[in-house]
Assembly symmetry: C3
Homo-oligomer: 390 residues x 3
């Protein structure tokens, strides 16, 4: 028994089987098949390996973004000069990746809780009966006021009048604000961390540079007006009614090369379509929200309501790092060998079904067991000698 | 030398090798093997290509979300009527993808910095010795106050009493607030941008529609009460103590079809487990944070502290676009050919080790070089003629 | 015609072709080739299947994070004692995944809109001519003030003086604040939802536990001082000028095992480089923003400006779940068979081009059709008998 196993083992280790092949010496077949095979080889090497970099594994990054706006706005409404600094015009203030820069506003000062008439044009009425009681949208109380011919509502009074948007926008100076972006990405699969303050972008450079796609593509400081311009919008339009702009920070890195080449690329686009695209472009325009500053006056709570029109900026980090890895390499090779097999199948079809001498090649390629089939139950029907010849 | 190379080249190009095969004409073997092969083929075509769409490459989107709540809340606490509008009940106000809608609150008005007793029930004491000095959680100062039998602390006074949560929740009207979601997704690999305001969802439709999974599945305006209902929770419970609800916007797009079919699907679920799941459901219930409005009164800084109970809504965008791509197609084919090889191996095992006529088939399949092995050093031991026969 | 088709079909189903192979009984060749084949097999099984788990498909999670800080800060500036609670020191207040904990601040109280001199050291002047009019950064008005020798500007007055940062940081007590993290992840591909409050982390445990990587790795409550320490920074430094720390919650789950083993792992690191890394470490240090509390005093709008230095904490959820899936399994097997084919090719090269008996093996492996080539147009040049022998 033991010797039998060792026999099987030695048989296994000292033997090697390889396929028997027919070498067809035919110019036409040879050239066609070699070209098919070379095509497949070229595809595997050229496309999978060189173009698609199939020998690399890919990873996306986890990232963190910190932003800081700088600049001072100035308004002069009916002779009242006012200054707007970062604490006033950025929402939220703590430097998130997504924030709003106020460019226009409708301010309703000194609102108190109470009863007052609705705006003319809304909830018009002639008698008290026209004013439904207890509705939720501006909770009316069923009284029609004569002076304004509108219903009386319980609300923060006076009611905000947002029917006309200031034009030109109040804070056109926003065009000159600057945005500083600090972004770090970590590719956990490769253990690589990069910051957008890459080699050469030091404190001295930052203090003077201004982003421009051609001349200063790595400067992390951008003028708000430039951001709008690069995304294809008109600053005055967007400043008036607000808008949503995405700043895409693209980290596409080949980590087989030096880490120095792993640099961010900034692109700018409307978040809900760009100006060129007719049907969706308008969707990017128009961004507003309401915001209240509460205070006490004469022991009564009051608030200043600000309807903020602004530029919502989303810093979107997109990342893809690639590095040589043995697994995808071997998977690509293995898969390539498989596709090579397909080439062989195609050539065989040509050889066996299309060529005029197909019958000859069929006989060369195949050995039939048909004679055997006739006397199917007699296993001794073929001599060992005869089989050994085959 | 040169002619030698050209010889090798012409040999290479004018030759074609193909495997020699045994054609086993045996019903049992044939049927079994063909079924195995057809099974593998069916798997590759049916599963990999049709079901899993292995001929497509996939990409996830970068997305941007903007939200806007609408609706007015009304409270009547001890005869004091108050109105709560968007600027009062949404945190943060600027329309983020993640925000909180206040549905209940405990308000502590007119707090000033000073010394006052702790709440009864906390830090009870009988002598000054019971009150440790200078601890951080409510910084005590080592004095036990007789009236309340609690320690004196330095804090914003009076200390907030949050031991009883208002029931029913103060802002039950929140049920009728509406949420408008604006969401755009960009699949960078395919250069496709889509907004949830798809074809047919125009300004006119939006002004009247209300989301319902069956009748209006594409309307981007949802009632807060519906959101809670669709996620399986009870509005009154969640409004009282707060809760965390996720709105999943699912973009699963087959870009081989018309872009019109790339539409969002909205689903709703508790962020920390759904009501049906016993052990984690409670985790989704209960969400609160504290928020202060600061003001000056009689030159002294004061604040109104609000403990906000609310519904935290996270808009989560999930996206997967697929499009025909030659690389995954060929990889799948190559891999399929490989699996086909496995089928052949299985059939060979059957043929060579299980069938009664296995010895016969072995002889048909294999040619042995054993005779050669005996006189291993005489390379001329086999005549060219004999070998050519094989 | 019909019988012809059924003939072809029966031929197809009752036949089975298998490759003819040469069994080379040669010790050297056998051992070398078997070792190559075993190596490939070991690679496929060991590396692809066991190490890289190629039989599983992978999915990343959609996640939601809710945070809550606890703790009270205490400051004593020139005898004025003040208490800072959560509503005062966390920005934003609603419990986002990314927030700032104030640890130091420069407060400028009672600013009003008006004209006042710039800070000494900035915009120094001797005559009015030195002060350019109407510039945006602090909008000057062209007047040089004698007392300070600086330009007069229109601004929130008095102008903030942030030239010296308080040292030691005002809110050193921040070290003792605690952070509670609630995180849920959903793997949509596998329909699995997990919360970081895993089995055994119940209300009772949470009320007493404090995170420590060794003793309490699953406790979701962390001391702020510990977070800084674990990420390798010095609390005093970071508390003074601010800093950005990432808390990575890593969900790497093998869903073929019990769900109980799918647990989060918390790690801490500087967002813009860690202390050990010389060139980028400083980038993680320094985080500040300005924040204003507006109020009315004597009918005039005023504000208290706070320059907040703080610790920005980003909770970053990283997830990867894997589960057995038939598709990647078969793809890996198919690809493995392909690589196996490569091993055969290598062995054949050895056999046919390197071994001394290569000519013999070539003759065993290949059958030539060369004789046929000579009389290329006579297809009957080979008798059926002769071919059948081959």
């Amino acid at each position: 028994m033991k010797s039998q196993i060792s026999n099987v083992l030695s048989d296994f280790f000292f033997e090697y089987e390889t396929q028997r092949q027919v070498l067809v010496r035919n110019r036409r077949v040879g050239v066609v098949c070699r070209l098919i095979q070379l095509g497949v080889l070229a595809y595997i090497i050229g496309w999978v390996f060189i173009y698609e970099k199939g020998y690399q594994s890919a990873d996306t990054a986890i990232s963190s973004v910190y932003t800081k706006m700088k600049g001072v706005g100035y308004t002069n409404v009916a002779g009242v000069e006012e200054i707007w600094d970062v604490a006033d015009y950025v929402f939220p203030s703590q430097g998130d990746a997504s924030f709003v820069v106020m460019t226009n506003f409708i301010i309703t000062q000194g609102q108190t809780m109470g009863k007052c008439p609705e705006l003319p044009g809304k909830d018009n009425c002639t008698t008290n009966g026209d004013c439904e009681e207890g509705r939720f949208k501006r909770t009316g109380n069923g009284v029609c006021l004569n002076q304004t011919h509108t219903c009386e509502v319980l609300a923060w009074c006076p009611v905000e009048d947002d029917q006309t948007i200031p034009d030109p926008p109040r804070l056109m100076s926003a065009e000159n604000y600057t945005l500083f972006i600090k972004n770090s990405v970590t590719f956990p699969l490769f253990g690589v961390t990069r910051s957008n303050l890459v080699e050469g972008i030091d404190g001295k450079y930052i203090s003077t540079c201004l982003y421009h796609p051609d001349t200063n593509p790595l400067c992390p400081i951008m003028k708000l007006g430039d951001i709008i311009k690069f995304s294809g919008f008109d600053f005055t339009t967007i400043a008036k009614v607000g808008g949503a702009i995405g700043i895409l920070v693209d980290w596409t890195c080949n980590l087989d090369r030096s880490l120095r080449h792993c640099k961010p690329v900034y692109t700018f686009h409307g978040l809900y379509g760009n100006p060129g695209e007719t049907d969706t472009a308008r969707a990017s325009v128009g961004y507003n929200f309401r915001y209240a500053k509460h205070y006490m006056e004469d022991k009564k709570p009051k608030r200043t309501l600000i309807k903020v029109f602004g530029i919502r900026i989303d810093i979107i980090v997109q990342s893809l790092a690639r590095k040589f890895d043995i697994i995808p390499t071997l998977t690509a090779i293995g898969s390539g060998v498989g596709i090579f097999g397909v080439a062989t199948v195609v050539c065989d079809l040509v050889l066996l079904y299309i060529l005029p001498k197909r019958e000859f090649y069929k006989n060369m390629k195949y050995k039939y067991t048909e004679t055997q089939q006739r006397d199917v139950d007699s296993e001794a029907g073929i001599t060992e000698k005869e089989a050994a010849k085959g």
